[in-house]
C-alpha cells in the first residue's frame, strides 16, 4: 500500500466512524418496516428477490408498499407513474436543499442522489460533521448504510415469509398504519391543516365518484387546481 492509499483508507474509516452512530436509529426503523414489507410481498405471493430487487431499484418505502397493491391490481402504468411521482415529490425539495452540499462531490454525487430518502436527507442535511472528517465520505456512508439496512430488511422479510406459518391475516394493515403515521407526523408539524384536510376530503369525494380503480389521478388533479386557485390566501397561512 502506498502512502496515498493509507491516507485514503484512514479518511474513509474516520468518516465511517463519524457516520455510523447517526444511522443506528434508522437501522431499527428500516429493518422493522423493510422486514414487514418483505413479509407482505411474500404473503402476496412474491419470491424474496422481488422485494429485494424492488428495494434496490425503487428505494422508497412508501412507493414499494403502494406497489404491493398495484402489482395485485389491474395494469395502470400511467396511474402508477403519477402516484410514485407525487409520493416522491418531496424529494424535489430535498434535492434543492442539497444542491450546494453535493457540489464538487465527483462520482459520489450519483449514489448520493440515488440513495437520498427522507432519513438519509435529514441526517445529511442537519448533521454537524466534525472538522477533519471528509464531508463527502460521511454523507456517502450515511447513504450506503441506510440503503443497505432497507435492502437487507426487505430481503430478510421476503425469506422469513416462508418460515413463518402463524396467521398473518391483517398484516397488510402495516401499510395503512405507516401512512397514517406519516400523515399524523405531518399534521403535528404543520401549523395550518388546510392542505391535510383538503387531501383527505378531495380523495374521499373522488373515491366515491370515480371508484377505487380510477380515483387517484382525478384526486391529484383536483388538488393541484384547488391549491393553485387558493394560493393567495393559503400561501400566507402556511408561511406563518
Amino acid at each position: 500500500m502506498t502512502n496515498t492509499d493509507t491516507r485514503h483508507c484512514g479518511r474513509r474509516l474516520k468518516a465511517f466512524k463519524a457516520a455510523f452512530p447517526y444511522t443506528v436509529p434508522i437501522f431499527a426503523g428500516f429493518w422493522f418496516l423493510g422486514i414487514a414489507y418483505g413479509l407482505l410481498m411474500n404473503k402476496s405471493g412474491f419470491a424474496f428477490y422481488w422485494p429485494m430487487l424492488m428495494a434496490m431499484t425503487i428505494f422508497s418505502g412508501s412507493v414499494e408498499f403502494v406497489a404491493v397493491k398495484m402489482l395485485l391490481g389491474q395494469f395502470h402504468p400511467l396511474q402508477s407513474f403519477l402516484v410514485a411521482l407525487l409520493i416522491c415529490a418531496r424529494h424535489l425539495f430535498y434535492g434543492l436543499s442539497m444542491l450546494d452540499k453535493f457540489k464538487g462531490m465527483g462520482w459520489k454525487k450519483i449514489p448520493l442522489i440515488y440513495g437520498m430518502c427522507d432519513e438519509t436527507f435529514s441526517i445529511n442535511f442537519t448533521a454537524r460533521i466534525p472538522d477533519g472528517v471528509d464531508k463527502g465520505w460521511f454523507m456517502l456512508w450515511v447513504t450506503v448504510l441506510d440503503y443497505s439496512y432497507w435492502v437487507t430488511g426487505a430481503a430478510i422479510g421476503g425469506l422469513a415469509g416462508d418460515l413463518i406459518h402463524f396467521n398473518t391475516r391483517g398484516l397488510d394493515f402495516v401499510m395503512t398504519a405507516m401512512f397514517v403515521t406519516i400523515f399524523m407526523e405531518q399534521w403535528l408539524k404543520e401549523k395550518n391543516h388546510t392542505a391535510s384536510v383538503a387531501g383527505v376530503v378531495i380523495s374521499v369525494v373522488c373515491l366515491v365518484v370515480f371508484g377505487p380503480e380510477h380515483f387517484v389521478i382525478p384526486a391529484m388533479a383536483v388538488m393541484l387546481i384547488t391549491f393553485m386557485s387558493v394560493r393567495n390566501s393559503l400561501e400566507k397561512k402556511v408561511e406563518c
Binding site: F32, T57, I58, F59, V63, A67, K69, M70, L71, G73, Q74, F75, P77, S80, F81, L82, V83, A84, L85, L86, I87, C88, A89, H91, L92, F93, G95, L96, M98, L99, I113, Y114, M116, N167, F173, V174, T176, A177, M178, V180, T181, F183, M184, E185, Q186, L188, E190, A195, S196, G199, I202, S203, F215, V216, M220, L224, F227, L234, E235, V238
Partner: protein, 108 residues
C-alpha cells in the same frame, strides 16, 4: 396482471422515483426555485399523505360486512399512539397489532 405488466409497473415506479431525485440537480442548478414550486412543495406533501391513507382503504366496504370498523379502530390506535409517543415504530406496530387482533379473534 402478467409478469411483463408487473415488470413494467415496477419500471415506471423506478423511473418516477429516480426522476424526483435527479431533476433538481439537472434543472435548478444555480437558479432560484420558482415561487409556485416552493408553494406546492409546502402544501402538496400533506395532501398526498392524506390521499395515500384513503388509497389504502379504497377496497374497504363501509356499507357492508364489518362496516370498516377494524380499519377505523386500527387507524385511531395508530394516530393516538403517534400523538402520544411520536415514535413511528410504536405507532405502526401498535396499530397493525390492534388490527390483526381484531380481524383474527373476532373473525371479521
Amino acid at each position: 396482471m402478467t409478469l411483463t405488466q408487473q415488470i413494467l409497473t415496477i419500471a415506471t415506479l423506478v423511473a418516477a422515483t429516480a426522476l424526483t431525485r435527479f431533476v433538481p440537480f439537472l434543472l435548478f442548478k444555480g437558479r432560484p426555485t420558482p415561487p409556485a414550486v416552493q408553494y406546492l412543495g409546502k402544501v402538496l406533501p400533506s395532501a398526498v399523505f392524506g390521499t395515500l391513507v384513503i388509497y389504502c382503504l379504497k377496497d374497504v366496504s363501509f356499507t357492508s360486512g364489518a362496516y370498516g370498523m377494524p380499519e377505523l379502530a386500527g387507524i385511531i390506535v395508530t394516530a393516538l399512539l403517534h400523538v402520544w409517543k411520536r415514535q413511528m415504530l410504536i405507532s405502526v406496530l401498535g396499530g397493525t397489532a390492534c388490527y390483526m387482533v381484531i380481524v383474527n379473534i373476532l373473525h371479521l
